[in-house]
Symmetry: C2
Subunit: 127 residues, 2 copies
DNA sequence: TATACTGTACATATACAGTATACAGAGGTG
DNA sequence: CACCTCTGTATACTGTATATGTACAGTATA
């Protein structure tokens, strides 16, 4: 389980878990049918309380990614990608721009940043 | 002052203010020497307490964007872009991927998303 | 000095994050 | 069946973060 948690970060741990797992789910690294580690197991690995992991699992279940059961634990659902409303670009443009501005403000070179964005854009075309 | 606040959002208001202003600062819409609205004024406009705005201003001052004084209020500093350490792409790659995954999960079409990323990348080249 | 404007400081109410602990459900094994 | 062991859940509790109310201090101007 490749999942780095930054205890210093302002974003809460449970959301770091959600974010990290969601990336794996969207990319397909976690495929339908796959089992996730038990909450106590993952909690031990990343050094938090198991309830914090459980909260993250519940959030992903709420989003439709996981199916949680008493014995089987958390499993990736067959119907992975939720059937949400297709949002307009304007809806998420601001959020991307805010993140980019934040990264730029931290001193990242615009050219390097642009390269990274193109790389991700290219990867997206594969879908 | 174009600054939309979403009271429903999970991200706290003061950080929405910081994020929104930082975009304007990085883009240059807020240039060195410009004065920001008084805390009570902006607070009235967006419908929050002025202390919440003050907290946002202090955060941006801490980042080196603003100079705050008793009479002059908050002004954009000459030395806008902070002299931070140039972070490696790997440092922020994960954060971008997390945001993109989140947007994808909400149902955004990858092609539309890729187009948006390229647009931002192109804009970055201008710097 | 009086006034009117800036941002600041501090106490408070409330919500959120993380943990400890006890619990309930499901399946295996004596 | 009784028991054990594994799963996630529920509740209570502590500390932190957010937003506000109120009082204050600094600064320019009439």
């Amino acid at each position: 389980m490749i999942l780095r948690i930054d205890a210093e970060s302002a974003t809460p741990v449970y959301r770091q878990i959600v974010d990290g797992l969601r990336v794996a789910l969207v990319k397909g690294d976690l495929a339908p049918g796959d089992s996730l580690p038990a909450v106590r197991r993952l909690a031990l690995d990343i050094g938090v309380h198991f309830n914090t992991v459980a909260q993250a699992y519940r959030e992903l279940a709420r989003e439709g990614w996981l199916h949680i059961s008493a014995r089987g634990g958390a499993q990736v659902k067959e119907r992975s990608m939720p059937v949400a409303s297709k949002p307009e670009a304007a809806t998420y443009r601001r959020r991307i721009e805010e993140l980019i501005a934040q990264i730029q403000a931290s001193g990242a070179a615009p050219s390097s940043l642009a390269r990274e964005l193109r790389r991700i854009a290219k990867a997206l075309e594969g879908f």
